[in-house]
Symmetry: D4
Subunit: 226 residues, 8 copies
């Protein structure tokens, strides 16, 4: 039986390369997927690959992958050198949100898109955000990453003209534990122009940004490419 069916035609259909969510997979399954990709000469982004599971991969896989333990991402294939000026700003509510923000950044770079990362501009000290505002407004898309009460989502969306993608994070405790408070704040925002991805989903936000930038010129495709 085939344990996995890679969607190598995804690029043609949606403009995005294949990516593998590693958290619920065994090391053996990840290894097999990487080996298959190496064989085909395909590029691959692995997400939520914990350091322990990475160490359990085969030597071949470990050698081939560019692994980053903070974001738990691994990349098969070269990262395009970041262009001079990024079109995406990634704005973090707090220092603690950086791992998710950088997952977004690595995903963008894997697809050849640079990003500007602006950290720790939470609204408790509003000047931290406002003094970065002109810089942020220069970008074509903003990814906002925040946990706890996620107030920054509304404040930002009311201050910039471009699409703001909210990534609620699981940072917080009590009623904020797990990220539901920040998620609901993003969805219930009184500011328009804001859309939301799943909690801690930096990867997903990057892909929304890529589609917004419209870099993909997908080939004509059908449902059944094979």
């Amino acid at each position: 039986m085939t344990e996995f069916r890679m969607d190598w035609a995804r690029g043609g259909r949606t403009g995005a390369s294949e990516a593998v969510l590693c958290e619920p997979k065994t090391a053996t399954q990840v290894d097999a997927i990487v080996a298959h990709a190496i064989e085909l000469g395909a590029r691959l982004l692995l997400t939520r690959l914990g350091a322990l599971k990475f160490r359990r991969l085969s030597a071949q896989a470990r050698a081939a992958l560019d692994y980053d333990p903070v974001t738990r991402t691994a990349i098969l294939g070269t990262l395009t050198p970041a262009p001079g000026t990024g079109r995406v700003a990634i704005v973090c509510g707090g220092t603690s949100d950086l791992a998710v923000a950088r997952e977004a950044e690595r995903t963008l770079r894997f697809e050849g898109e640079a990003a500007t990362l602006i950290a720790d501009v939470g609204v408790a000290g509003l000047w931290r955000l406002t003094e970065q505002l002109e810089e942020i407004r220069r970008h074509r898309v903003v990814i906002a990453v925040a946990g706890m009460e996620g107030a920054i989502f509304s404040v930002l969306a009311g201050l910039v003209p471009c699409a703001v993608i909210a990534v609620p994070t699981s940072i917080g405790y009590g009623v904020a534990a797990g990220g539901k408070a920040a998620l609901h704040a993003a969805l219930a925002s009184c500011a328009s122009g804001l859309s939301v991805v799943n909690i801690d989903n930096g990867f997903g936000a990057a892909h929304v940004a890529l589609r917004i930038l419209g870099t993909a010129t997908p080939a004509p495709t059908t449902i059944l490419p094979h």
Copy 2:
């Protein structure tokens, strides 16, 4: 059987007058309580008294009460004329939050305390808040009233030096319906100096403000005043 036991000794114990939550009571029960208070010459604040139920009260009760249908409050006894300068600022996220904000204001005035009401300063247009900031900062206590995502709670608490009491409101739809999103935002706030009362509880916020102001000089009391 006695259907109600008024806590007339509350003032001595906690500094607050008796108040009656009318929503879950029948008109007959409210009538009996009002009649009892009139008999004793006591002052009384009735909250969540809908217009329909008010109309079903006895003529005596209706004549004796100063009723306001927007806030659904009724007052037995005179309102102290508001002093020149209020010590409490009541700040509203949106026009829709005014009914709750005014419940707080009427409660404060019933206890002899003036308040400054500042409406519709939601964070989607941040200038609306910042242009009121110096005015707000002049007060000793801030009551912040907001529904939807409640981002204003954190922004305010980061900009003023006094205690901020958050009143989440049930304004909103989808994930904001019922006020839970605003409540959780207030509780999970990254800004300190913020405390929270129940959803739509303008009455409660006013009483917290009164205790903060420390106007009450309660008489020595015991658990069993009777």
Copy 3:
């Protein structure tokens, strides 16, 4: 006291005109806002304005507004004639989702953007979606509107190259009542390129689409425009 502070500078700051959520406001409050806008000669979009409340508005307001009871929207000012070819596709899971879809459409047209509305393409009969696929793929942005289990969000995002904005609707019963099942399906999607707005928020999805299209050329702005 000022009951409302319109954010007429929003266009300069974010590219979007002012809009008013009417559901939690009294008819008196809506009337005052409309009168103020008429006075200023401003354009205005009113959302969630029920037919009953519309009928309680002043004759002046009713005469000035272009009201649509299905979407519960009213427009002050002329709708730009829809251009020949829309850049936004609005795709509905079921006939029942049309009211929300049309709220998105009216919002887009209010901002001068045409949309193609494609209804009842739920996945229970997959051919309904696939036979519209080439048409859908011609657009620059897709707004997907669906209730119940919201399976269409993932299917669509896997088949088109542009950004897909999911609008979960409150259509459904049992575990789907209120729209949480569809919302969670959209957020948890295995397909990338999908972002989400609040339940039934057709207005919000339209604004995300507008920002993606980048039609706004906002003037330089500050936090405090007044």
Copy 4:
């Protein structure tokens, strides 16, 4: 005191053999049950028996059991050789769902029924499902196993004529964590012909399939077989 009462009469009453959920039991309790079954010459299926707990069982138990760590199932008694053609198709949304899918497969084989396992046919790349469609439609019952947003349940139920049993899995993060999003998607499906078992309950789905196939010819039974 008797710590357990095996329901050996279950086969006569419902057609199913006894099975033991091991997760909440101590190794001592599992050991006693296995010893009792060996003594009676009974066949037994153990589910949710973690590798650690298995290693703590007595040597006798370990020797007697056919243990599989991936599915965490152990079988006492021989597995009937799988017949040439299975009547049950087990379809997985993702590679990560295989452990649950194989729990279903082992349960079916324990009861003498073969199954065809078809993995990684998630809807993000719809062709993966459609290219297997003719194969899937050949079966008498379909067990669909998926986590995250569970969109595959509706898509499948709309494409095949037989009963589809949905097994939501706990695969996913954020709003999908724990499997509730997939569960609700299955229950709220716009496609008919779909019924649902508990999250991660591959064992339960297999038993529903067995009852649908109607292989059991249970003896006449009473409530009180002993």
Copy 5:
């Protein structure tokens, strides 16, 4: 624009006729669908069609439909006379669950399948269930309909050899309000052989039963029948 796309090919693909969930549709939309079906000479089942909305349909539609206010179902086309002996038993926990049970029964009869309805056999008086047990066991499929705590699902599944489809109902108050307690009881059942449909979904349970009976001999089909 086409407001609805009927899936007339569904029978060929899945064996089930088209059905229309009327609750979230306007009377105008329902009218249009019925008119379209009459024109094509198609049979149609309408569910969740409240008495008020039925009265707002056109005279033509009302005349053509066989409407039942208790189950809120309407049928276009003749009901096959019920065969002598039903293969499906519909078992109700309480008298209050009858509306849902009868929705299942009408759905079955619409598809030409008889059912035996056995009411008010809740477990609080266990004899009510056990004295019907031999009768229930004679059927090929059991649909169990119950609200409140749904204990009957487990008891039944432990006593009969055939597939039991649980339909939790929204009957109950307090923690049972809305049907979640019964739903969770069905999903968490300690008895195997039980699968579950959405709360109050008698229609859905009937369709699962039909697929189990395997009466459908669907024609070869494709995803894109049109």
Copy 6:
């Protein structure tokens, strides 16, 4: 088909008379049950019978029933005159909880047991409770009825030696709406000797009290009394 199966043997089995939850039943169903009971000369307690539904009952039923609109209970058969000294104390947190408290009282009297009702002893004015304490402690069982935060459950259970049955009520708003806050307070109590029934279930609390008093001398019974 039989629509209902009365459990007239319940008294022999559990000591309690039959009772009928009317809320989810149609007036026709209630009428049929009452007629059946009249025919048999049986006593019957009807609960959650709203005034509107009562008025829709047949003249015969209305004449035969002793109906109380506040508690929404109706009794067929005479109420035993209350004995001089009750063994059950029913203690209310607030005036608003009286309807539920009196449902408990009527249920007890229907079974021949008197109760002492003590109202409005909420903990916000602790003296109201403590001044009744000696009176409360004289009883054999205490039923405590309270909504909002339900603090009285713990306070009472720590002060009396007999079993305390908590009935959380749906009185309250915001996080207390529906009674979940009071329910969880009762279950999570730091005081022992407290057990809990469903929200607003005064009827259920009375039956627990009756079983505690052990008045029932049930005849030997079997599962299948018929």
Copy 7:
């Protein structure tokens, strides 16, 4: 500062000895409490004392305590020899519920009351319960302990005449994880005579049973015994 204040007067007030919930306390805190009790010659029941924490207690404490790792209870003072015939039956749904059931049993014995423990009588094999029925009915109080869907609570309460105390357990997975499904089933039961304690609270159920038995003859007490 005093870290703890033992309520040694509790026996006089409520009939129950002091007990200490150890889970949230540090070993140092538990040690201090035990030392204090030893000094006073007081008896003490410790609950939720994990094996690890027990091992971290002082040698003096470990020597003085009768510790049972399965129930995680420790007793300071002698257990009264169990009388010949227990008045309390403790009935378990499954073998997995035994730890909670035995916590109840140890608590009863600590207070001098014997209990009959009847295990693994889950409703999936109803005969297991019915063959124990006459034995169970001989008792004055029944404690029912069950996880998963908790169907046994309703079945039992419908078959015995005495008070049934439901203890939902956290045994189960998916929707049953943590015990909420069983808890809600107990609260929403269609059978009367059932009351409920917190999830896994065997200790609490025992205390309700003790109060029902009314063994306590508490001395006259006041709120302020010191």
Copy 8:
């Protein structure tokens, strides 16, 4: 890129020193912040800094910090000697709540404010609270810390005249697990004068108390202090 932006101007704006929530930060991030503060000669409060993470800090940081493992707080800079008489009373429901209570106390002392800590005055033995009442009433602010059902919040607020800040804790199991039951009890309280902070947020409660005391005389400030 700057990973953190300290808000050193916070004191001028709100009267509170900077504080760092360490739980979601890496040891490297905490180290960098501490080094930066040392460099600037700034005072700093670190919260939720677990013992393990503290041990992973640099030697310089560990030497400079006054670390307390129970409250998981570390202080950079000297603690002002506590003044003779505290104005804040911190009242604990149980011994288990002491860690949170002491986090509040350390936060107060870091800001130069003394507090009186009164432990284990839970309402199950009401005398424990009432015998401390006169002492508690002497303070200007009360912080009440309690888990489980949080009944003490209402009882206290009804007995003292000053503002009561409720800190629900995550102490408890079953429905109390995580602190939601205590949180909802505090918010739904029938007593006025009570406001609430997030679960386990002793730090936050201290800051509310500080603002109530109004010790801060913040300098005139602007949004953009830098």
